[in-house]
């Protein structure tokens, strides 16, 4: 379980997160939605304990499988060596990862589909490939909680699909509490049970995707008229999608 309870974060006089409450139990996925600059990342950092709370409290296990937006790293390490760092908490200060730890890391790379470039230098991989390696590292921690900061923001459509399929399959397993931030409501529709909408007035709307990711709420969230459309997915089943009805857009 991970979440915030009446959490408030201020930067100077500005209140970025105002009495925010939500919780994600094991087996559910939450998408934190909102345009850029609305405090999504701050809420996420607060939840992880990287951001001091002015009020309220947080709930999180001591180790969280965290996937940063980009990994700032000037070391040139192999992807497998990045993934094995997920074992750090289990090893403590002075121990080195052994064969079992590498086995866990390899399993995680297999799970995310990154095993093919396990031996490649991490910094030579594409953005999408790196994202999958970092997700494998998060899985390798063994934590029941996964937190992803804008996991799809820097990815092209193909890689977005790969990532969302992966997140969805992790959701389906119901073994983990998953939280990710995104500015695209369709990502929530693709891989989340619940959504948290960071509204412009500082309030937040928290509830199941089916109720919260609806045109009326989204219009308030983004300040853009939104429409829901039904489309058939690759397997033929119907999918719901939301689109902005931009004023300048026209058909034909």
């Amino acid at each position: 379980m991970i979440g915030l309870s009446h959490a408030t974060v201020r930067f100077g006089a500005r209140t970025v997160v105002d009495r925010l409450s939500f919780s994600v139990p094991i087996g559910r996925s939450l998408a934190i939605l909102g345009p850029n600059g609305r405090g999504k990342t701050t809420a996420l950092r607060a939840m992880l304990g990287f951001q001091r709370l002015h009020a309220g409290s947080r709930t999180a296990p001591s180790i969280v499988g965290y996937v940063p937006q980009v990994s700032v790293n000037n070391q040139r390490l192999r992807a497998i060596d990045i993934a094995v760092m997920g074992r750090a908490a289990h090893l403590g200060l002075f121990r080195q990862p052994g064969d079992e730890d590498y086995a866990v890391a390899r399993t995680a790379l297999n799970r995310t589909g990154a095993a093919g470039y396990a031996e490649q230098p991490f910094d030579r991989l594409s953005g999408g490939e790196r994202q999958l390696v970092l997700l494998a590292r998060a899985l390798a921690t063994g934590s029941e909680v996964l937190v992803l900061d804008e996991p799809a923001a820097a990815l092209d459509l193909h890689n977005q699909e790969r990532l969302l399929v992966l997140l969805e399959s992790l959701r389906q397993e119901r073994h983990k509490a998953i939280v990710f931030t995104t500015h695209d409501p369709n990502h929530a529709l693709a891989a989340a049970d619940d959504a948290l909408l960071m509204m412009p007035d500082g309030s937040a709307l928290f509830g199941p995707v089916a109720e919260t990711v609806a045109p009326a709420h989204l219009e308030r969230l983004y300040g853009v008229p939104m429409r829901t459309v039904e489309l058939s997915g690759p397997a033929g089943a119907l999918h719901r999608a939301v689109l902005p009805a931009f004023a300048g857009a026209r058909a034909g």
């Binding site: 992880l48 000037n74 390490l77 750090a88 064969d99 910094d123």
Partner: protein
């Protein structure tokens, strides 16, 4: 053999870079062994190589044998402790630089950054001025280095947290203050006695190496380096972004200070017995990175071996090239700065090629 070495380096699983890493380590060990042997056989006092080797063998097999002849004492009481001290200090400085460059995520960082060297320098200069020699001098140097680190820690902690940049800036501030006091001491020092002694000491030298000094410095050097080495995987994680490292269960701040304290123990022990020796802590980790890559699990031991060999060679030059001792700082700067310039250019060229 290759299995054993790689397992010791802590990287299980067959990988293509392994054989290369194993070869590099074999070469580094050979380099260190050769430089130690050459250094033991070289000196201003003529001792034939075979005699020198026989004496070293005698020292190893029968260390309690009384030493009556000059060549015995030269080899066993002057050269061996000096070579041992140079190798230990070089390995220690190099591993400090490697660890700090990881912690600061900055390849241009060196052990001087924490103010420890300047603090230790002040302790030494003060001791020389006060006419304190021997063990009390060494103790003063060590304590002053630690005081500098504590000051940096105190300054860098802003509202209960320590940021990397505040550590660097605090180190700069403390270094400047200590350097200023060292300058002040030089200003008031007796130009006939303490001033040249301070100046020489600030330039670094192993010329006063004795077994006693080896015994004083080696616990700190060996223990510090061994602990840093055992933190090698942790350093990989610490070198990540703060949030990433924390999410992986690293108590970043506490562990960073643990590393700083270990660096202080190593640098304090080194400066106490051989003065300020620059460049090794910055150049050697770079060279090690080029040879074995960035992974601290192989980079730290490579830095230790390379640092030990490099310092042994430099010190051999310093004591044999002329009848006069050449200050180590002069040679490390003359050799280190150009190497560093080449490495730096290579580093950034590679980066822009990516």
């Amino acid at each position: 053999m290759s299995e054993g070495l790689a397992a010791r380096n802590g990287i299980p699983g067959g990988t293509p870079t392994w054989t290369r890493t194993t070869l590099v380590f074999a070469a580094l060990l050979a380099l260190l062994a050769v430089s130690l042997l050459v250094s033991l056989c070289a000196g201003r006092f003529g001792v034939p190589v075979t005699r020198a080797l026989a004496l070293i063998w005698q020292g190893l097999t029968d260390p309690s044998a009384p030493m009556q002849a000059m060549d015995e004492r030269i080899v066993l009481l002057v050269r061996v402790p000096r070579v041992v001290l140079a190798a230990l200090a070089g390995g220690g400085l190099a591993v400090c630089g490697a660890a700090l460059q990881g912690v600061f995520r900055n390849p241009l960082v060196s052990p001087d950054i924490l103010g420890i060297s300047q603090g230790a320098a002040l302790g030494g200069a003060l001791a020389i001025m006060l006419g304190i020699w021997g063990f009390p001098l060494i103790a003063m140097v060590f304590v002053a280095g630690m005081v500098a680190l504590v000051l940096v820690g105190f300054l860098a902690r802003v509202s209960g947290r320590t940021e990397t940049v505040t550590v660097i800036l605090s180190g700069l501030v403390v270094s400047s203050v200590f350097a200023a006091v060292v300058s002040l001491l030089q200003f008031v020092a007796d130009p006939e006695t303490s001033l040249p002694a301070i100046v020489y000491w600030l330039m670094g030298s192993f010329s006063s190496a004795t077994w006693e000094r080896v015994l004083i410095a080696s616990p700190g050097l060996i223990l510090g380096a061994a602990l840093l080495w055992s933190l090698r995987f942790r350093l990989n994680v610490l070198a990540l972004d703060e949030a990433e490292a924390k999410s992986l269960g690293v108590r970043t701040e506490r562990e960073r200070w643990l590393i700083f304290a270990l660096v202080a123990v190593i640098v304090g022990s080194q400066v106490a017995v051989s003065g300020i020796i620059g460049w090794i802590g910055i150049v050697i980790p770079h060279a090690a990175r080029l040879l074995v890559g960035h992974d601290h699990r192989v980079m730290l031991p490579a830095s230790i071996l390379l640092g030990a060999a490099f310092t042994t060679i430099i010190d051999t030059l310093a004591r044999t090239a002329t009848a006069a001792e050449i200050p180590l700082g002069v040679i490390t700067a003359l050799v280190g700065a150009p190497i560093f310039a080449v490495l730096l250019r290579r580093h950034y060229r590679e980066r822009s090629d990516r």
